[in-house]
Amino acid sequence: MTDNMKASPVTHSDVSLEYTSGLEREFGSGEFVVTAEIGPPRGADASHVEKTACSLRGFVHAANVTDNQTAIVRMSSIAAAYIGQTCGVETIVQMTCRDRNRIAIQSDLLGAYALGLRNLLCLSGDHQSFGDHPQSKNVFDIDSIQLIRLAADMKNDGVFANGKKGKNMPKFFIGATINPFADPEELQLIRLRKKIEAGARFIQTQAVYDIDRFEKWMEKVRRLGIHKEAYIQAGILVNKSLRSIEMTRKVSGMCIPDSLIERMRKAENAQEEGVAIALELIGRLRRIEGLSGIHIMAVGWESIVPTIVREAGLMQ
């Protein structure tokens, strides 16, 4: 990394425990929050993370750092999130329950907080049968809702999972995920409620393609008052090719209208069409009452995020 790419590095020595989440402040100020993702590399080279983080700087309020997503071994989300913050991008540490028991989870949370990381997104984690080590054992000592509660209890009551008091406990801004398109909807809404009751304060949704259906879902969310209890961010996945959108469609619980697949099929320039679709979706999303922001997932095409943000007129 060159010196001019470095912006006020956040290091463990100059981050006090009093420092709180900037992302939380952005949501609190009513800003339409934009987040994107940093996928850690399958190697130990920090420059990969630095490059992605620097390209996002100024274009997002924060960036999720994924935790061995799809159960493929990658650089630790906490390490990569720290590297990202040294480049001046606030990060959101993703943590799954697949690879750690409650001892390791709490230990990692203490470490992450000490490194200046303040945002935590809690997930169950993709089953290891999808990844590059299908022979491995999974853990799932606790599930995602129990993880949210664990982090919230550390924050609010200063206690560990065993109920014992700790000193200088981490106070993460806690997030969770939801798939508005998963069925049965009633059960999914029960789970969303449970996540918020457990302590989730921001919610990132599965990628939205079927905007009509998402608008109807948000209506239900508003009727239940959920949008007042947590900030909701809609997921936006940017596809660069027909193959990419077709692969996305195969992901469990993904809902993509045929019309969008057709558009990608017929497009003269698939990349431009992928961006156009994302921009149209963002345009509609911004008008939805009770929606607090978007989360852009440009897996394998992170370099497109600034274009999307600029053309959508976000982060003004």
């Binding site: 049968s129 999974n138 664990l150 798939n179 998963a182 059960l187 469990s252």
Partner: protein, 224 residues
């Protein structure tokens, strides 16, 4: 019952090759019912080994031990076990170990892979229902066990991988939490799902070390 399945024949052949006098010990309980290690399967294995290349000189006898997890039943075949160079146990993992424990100088060869505690759903088809986790919560989950039937053993499911009532890891696998939801709905107990089940105490599971059960009314010995 305990459900098991026979190991590939070649694996068994490799293990028995050095020995001349072989005793195949069937087990008369669970593995008989699940058609993996009963007398019928033992006789079948005996024929297959007898036909295998290079095993023509073996002397193979078959005995059925009613329950390989009970000492008395094993000792009924004491003479035959002693006379054999190696014993091929067709019991579950408990049976293999108990024979091995009673005859420490004898090579005991496992013929089965022990799979799970399950039920018979169709002819020749069994599915896992219990993992013996030591603290049954089936009342809260409408009689459907998330520990053994959810791929992630989670207590506040379903996870994001449930789609159309199926588990993401295998489209033939039903999502346990979808089943729990449907049954609670039928029972008009959906409110049960709104309560978060706290992290469980896994010390009753294998995580607390090998487990023991003593029924004090019949077991005079004091201790754990």
């Amino acid at each position: 019952m305990i459900v098991a399945e026979r190991k590939p024949l070649n694996d068994i052949i490799q293990m028995v090759r050095p020995y001349k006098k072989l005793l195949i010990a069937a087990c008369g309980t669970c593995v008989t019912v699940c058609m993996a290690g009963g007398e019928k399967e033992a006789l079948e294995l005996s024929s297959l080994l007898g036909l295998a290349d290079g095993l023509e000189d073996k002397e193979i006898i078959v005995r059925t031990i009613q329950r390989q997890c009970d000492r008395e039943f094993i000792l009924e075949s004491d003479e035959d076990i002693r006379a054999a160079d190696a014993v091929i146990s067709m019991g579950c993992g408990a049976g293999v170990q108990f024979i091995a424990e009673l005859y420490p100088s004898k090579r005991i060869i496992p013929a089965l892979n022990t799979k799970f505690i399950g039920v018979n759903r169709d002819v020749g088809y069994w599915t896992e229902m219990c993992q013996g986790c030591g603290n049954c919560l089936l009342d809260r989950t409408a009689g459907i066990c998330p520990v053994s039937r959810c791929s992630k053993s989670i207590f506040n499911g379903p996870c994001g991988g449930s789609s159309g009532g199926r588990c993401e890891i295998d489209p033939d696998l039903e999502c346990a939490w979808q089943l729990i939801y449907e049954r609670l709905k039928v029972q008009d107990r959906l409110d049960t799902l709104t309560e978060t089940i706290p992290p469980r105490d896994w010390s009753s599971n294998r995580d607390g070390g090998p487990r023991r059960v003593r029924k004090s009314s019949v077991s005079p010995e004091v201790g754990k």
